[in-house]
Amino acid sequence: MRFILRRLGFYLIAFWASITLNFLLPRFMPGDPVSRMFARSQDRMQPEQLDALRKLLGVDNRPIWEQYAGYLQDVLTGQMGVSITRFPTPVTEVISSQIGWTLLLGGTALVIAAVVGNLLGILAAWRRGGAIDSALPPLLVFIGSFPYFWLAMGALYLFGVVLGWFPIRHAFTDGLEPAFTSEFIGDVAAHLVLPALTIVLVSIGGWMLGMRNTMIATNSEDYITMAEAKGLRPGRIMLRYAARNAMLPSVTSFGMGLGFVVGGALLTEVVFAYPGVGYQLLNAVQGLDYPLMQGLFLTITAAVLLANFLVDILYVRLDPRVRSN
């Protein structure tokens, strides 16, 4: 319990740090973001909205601590202003319409990569020097060295443009109504294959190598020798004795991987024009949509922190040593 509370405190501090960063950045930036945005919005903005924006981005004459208090209050009550590029939709509405796609894409890719990668790592460590162990790691490290977006573009070109197997952009075919029908779900799945596959391809190597290296250490433990001496089936020793104890670092990486899901899918979403939060973040940056940018960054951070907290709770369940401390 103390562990959980400590972690909770840590995540709160981290969240506070990112809010503060968000608060400080526009205030230290040269130039006046509000006038820039005003020019861009082409007079569609009302004076009071402009005023609210000034407050949000700190172009007003109040002392800085007062601005800070006001900003904290706004963020905690979910008031993140109005998007400029999608004027006059509130930022929160834009974000909530898109975070689902990011979670779907990132979640699918993460689960597949983690499961397959760990299994490969287990097999590689169990048969040191075997086919999987000697051929796959260098290959995966090599694939992992490619810039991620470049692989994605290559896959898009090869499978989308040349071969035409998969759709090349967006999350579902234009004109199709989102609904729980087999047609719609099939369409979404077809759009998901390429982006998810590219993420799996680049991230699987890390999972495999990590698992392999921990597992090699576990394999030399005495209880493995003991299990062998007892004459247990090799499959049982491999999975229930060795792999199970080598699993813990992977659980931690899973928490870190969740960060990649929400944040790192940005490049994927940009290449495949997938309508998630990362794609929207880049659009916001290009359109100088500061309120949306800030809102997206805070949402992404909050999601990452929450996911890590959940993994911590899971960790307490899995590792009794944490509980006894």
């Binding site: 501090i13 930036m29 490290v141 443009v161 944040g263 290009q286």
Partner: protein, 308 residues
């Protein structure tokens, strides 16, 4: 430059012994040699770029979107620029930014890690908290936000990548420094009244040379990849010629949709080769220093036996 400084403390006898075994191990390691050969080729090409292609690489030298032929070995872009010249000149900026970011983040990592481990208590708590917060903040969105708010330029790119990249190395180096901090020879140095700076940089640091090296390599890989990503998103300094910017322009000019694969393949392949070479060296460093990962067991010179 800085790597030379990092190796200076290894003048000490014990450390030199570790290092000789370490360097010998690397030189006889096939992975390390392959990696170093690839890296060396790229560095030579980058240095020789002004001699090989004296003219401005972004000037227009031929028809648009030419396929590779004898005149333009790698074809031309949609604007009519020579792809080979762009690629070789691109190595300069990419390697420079990658190395600078790598060295800078490793340096911050060393300072934070050593200070954490040596001073402990409150300083350790505070620095660890800072490190963990930075580790947890989602890197790429933070990168994008920072790049969006700061004025564009090469300096911004380096600053932003260092800010987002140092935390990982700090964590690794702290845990290693902590284990060395608890060794007897450090306690002896403390008792004999040596200054804090001397203990950190002359006693502790030389004994973690291999970890520092691994961290440095990982940071350079991160720097090169992240720079390419940032530039690909159009958030770098668009006026310089670098691999990331080449890819940004390739995407912008629709190289893929028109089927001009030759515009798009070389820069990506170069990034991959450099990252792969560095990963190979890193892997080799791991193998040389971690006897468990070695294929054949030799009488190991572990760090502990040398530290005594």
């Amino acid at each position: 430059m800085t790597s030379v400084i990092l190796q200076q403390p290894t003048e000490e006898k014990a450390a030199r012994k570790t290092n000789r075994g370490f360097i010998h191990g690397l030189l006889t390691n096939k992975k390390a040699m392959t990696g170093m050969a690839i890296m060396l080729t790229f560095i030579v090409l980058a240095l020789a770029a002004p001699a090989l292609f004296p003219a401005d690489p972004s000037r227009i030298t031929g028809m648009a979107s030419l396929e590779p032929d004898s005149e333009h070995w790698l074809g031309t872009t949609a604007k009519g620029q020579d792809v080979l010249a762009l690629t070789i000149h691109g190595a300069r900026s990419s390697l420079f930014v990658g190395l600078t970011v790598g060295v800078a983040s490793t340096f911050i990592g060393i300072l934070v890690g050593l200070a954490s481990a040596y001073f402990g208590k409150f300083i350790d708590e505070a620095l660890s908290l800072l490190t963990n917060v930075f580790l947890l903040l989602p890197g790429l969105p933070l990168l994008v936000i920072l790049a969006a708010f700061l004025p564009p330029g090469l300096g911004t790119v380096i600053l932003v990548l260092t800010v987002t990249g140092w935390a990982g190395s700090a964590r690794v180096l702290r845990s290693q420094a902590l284990s060395i901090r608890s060794k007897d020879f450090v306690a002896a140095a403390v008792v004999s009244g040596e200054r804090a700076g001397r203990i950190m940089f002359r006693e502790i640091l030389p004994n973690m040379a291999s970890i520092v090296m691994g961290t440095l390599l990982a940071c350079v890989i991160y720097g090169i990849g992240a720079q390419a990503g940032l530039e690909f998103l159009g958030l770098g300094d668009v006026s310089t010629v670098s691999w990331g910017n080449n890819l940004f322009w390739a995407g912008n000019e629709g190289a893929l949709l028109t089927g001009s694969w030759w515009v798009f393949v070389p820069s990506g392949l170069c990034i991959a080769l450099v990252a792969f070479a560095l990963a190979l060296i890193n892997y080799a460093v791991d193998e040389v220093t971690n006897p468990r990962l070695r294929k054949i067991r030799k009488p190991a010179t572990t760090e502990r036996s040398n530290a005594k």
